[in-house]
């Protein structure tokens, strides 16, 4: 049994993610199609507003939106479900020997699966509207891994605080709106004098990386990705430290 531990851990993560996915789509008529509808409706709205009403003149605008919106939706749901990951898992927290640090990982992982489920539609769309699918798309896993790291630290921190202060989730929800507008998702870049936002917002750099690999056909900037990965690791180390210090109190505070 002792030898099976890493495999057991992996199975545990998978089972919990599978549970989340199953529960999300069970007892609904459209099932998994729901995961496609949310981004599609947002794309339709943004395409109309910024294509027709206030034209931004970005070529292949729906494909551009698609590439930016999917990672944003992943980021947003990860942060929200990650914040609730401990408070929403009362039963698991009270299981003997349950590895609590897995909970935020499972929350982000579940969001990643939803992202991956939407990928075929995105590639079909990109192929159909721009005429080609870029080879550089094979670099996508690296960018996803960096984004995972970027979210993990805040998720650990927020999940731990949420146990004591139950309104942290609402605060996160409120902060996500300005962050959405501060990230180049439906527009391409900032005016030069607001470039500081770009410098401080890791998501902005991630958007650049997603677009260059999936649409422009350029390889992502390795130094930028490495820097982001380092920042992500630092935040994760801090978030994990806080989480771990609080973890032994979770069972009694829930």
């Amino acid at each position: 049994m002792a030898l099976a531990r890493p495999r057991q851990r992996r199975d545990l993560v998978w089972e919990l993610i599978a549970r989340n996915i199953k529960l999300r789509y069970r007892r609904s008529i459209l099932g998994i199609a729901w995961s496609q509808l949310a981004p599609l409706s947002m794309i339709a709205v943004f395409s109309f507003v910024f294509g027709r009403i206030v034209p931004l003149k970005i070529p292949d605008y729906p494909a551009f939106l698609f590439v930016g919106l999917l990672p944003w939706i992943w980021f947003q749901t990860s942060l929200l479900t990650g914040t609730q990951s401990v408070t929403g898992s009362r039963d698991l927290v009270r299981q003997p020997g349950f590895p609590l640090p897995l909970l935020p990982v499972v929350a982000i992982g579940s969001g990643l699966i939803n992202y991956l489920l939407a990928l075929p539609v995105m590639f079909i769309w990109i192929g159909a509207t721009t005429g080609h699918i870029r080879v550089t798309a094979v670099a996508l896993p690296a960018i996803l891994a960096v984004q995972f790291l970027i979210v993990l630290g805040p998720a650990y921190l927020l999940a731990a605080i949420q146990v004591t202060f139950r309104d942290v989730g609402h605060i996160v929800e409120i902060l996500l709106l300005p962050l959405f507008y501060a990230t180049p998702i439906f527009y391409a870049q900032y005016p030069a004098r607001y470039h500081v936002i770009y410098d401080l917002n890791p998501l902005a750099r991630l958007m650049t990386a997603y677009r260059s690999t999936l649409i422009a056909g350029r390889w992502p900037d390795v130094s930028v990705l490495s820097l982001l990965a380092l920042v992500g690791m630092g935040m994760t180390a801090f978030g994990y430290w806080v989480f771990d210090r609080r973890a032994h109190r979770f069972a009694e505070e829930l």
């Binding site: 057991q8 199975d11 545990l12 919990l16 299981q95 003997p96 349950f98 202060f165 309104d167 069972a251």
Partner: protein, 412 residues
Amino acid sequence: MRPAISGTEVGKRYRRYGPDRPHTLKEALVNGFRSMRAERFWAVRGVSFDIQPGRTVGLIGANGAGKSTLLRMIAGVERADEGTIEVQGRIGALLELGAPFHPDLTGRENIILSSVVAGLTRREARARIPDVVAFAQLEEFIDSPLRTYSTGMSTRLAFSIASHVDPEVLLVDEALSVGDISFQQRCVERMNEFRRAGVTILLVSHDPNRIRDLCDEVLWLRGGTLVAQGPPMEVTARYVASQAEMTQRITPHDVPVAYTSAGLPLRVHENRFGSMEATITEVHIQDGWGEPASQLLTGAPMLVEINVDIPASAGAAFVGATLRRADDLICLDTYTPVGAGTGQARVRLNVERLDIAAGEYLLDVGIYSADWTRTYDYQYGAYPVTVLGPEPAAGVMAPPLSWHLESSRVSR
């Protein structure tokens, strides 16, 4: 040998927050973080013990004695604030907290999920499904969502899963008290299998009989500290004696003498004990026609009407009746639960056939708290019953019976 479970000076302190403890950041900011300060109290303190591998150990104690807290610390769900707890081997647990079941998943999906959460790989979990299902006797329902299960079915499934994850240390918290008799019996058998296989079992209960039947050794907790560790007979006897002593202690002295319908006096500390938080106001023994009777016939029905007053403050309770022979042999011992806030009510016990030998008997009646740890009102030896039969007989039972003679010689 290295103990399977060992605790050294274990202590656990809980926080008791004031009523204005903030639950949100907003409240904390408005009230100031000062209100976060909490009064602390020790739920368990200075508890040291060793449990050798393969032993079945009972953990006994009244409510609030710290049994569940200690169990949760052994399970690793909570951390001790003082001292250390060491457990060797994989823990299987059936705590009052329940399994991580999800109502929208099917029984089968829940088995896999719970088994993997308990430490199996997916492959191991899949391989065990048939055994788990068979033990829980849920073959027909296993692919239905859990929300369609009754509480008893979920508990059966939970016990079945916990007992199929190859635990080396099994923690059981009062779980055996649910489910029907046949399932309880199989749980006991399963625990005996574990004992033979060398699994260390820690069983929490406040039922001394159960502990005496199943355990090799008993730990007794009172007020968060360990009172005794030793052989089951000895420790449970001391525990029962201390419970009786507590009943004596909580029995008030200023209760006026009451009289039974037969005119016998009920005096506290003499033939009446308990805290009187709930009381038995009247007891009537009747024959099959509902007529008051102090003499009954062997094989005829007996009705016992117990009038109770259970104020809401007493919570849920048990009403019990015991019929014993003049020499203290218990012939019948039965009880029924009554919900919280029953108020004044009439509880009826209908014994359809009183198949006991003719003789002199005494009926004892009592009301107890729902966890059996507190006696509210116990009236001892105040209700005599004379059973009349066709002939005085030795023995206890007098069922309808007949003798027949069949000759083995073949008739021509």
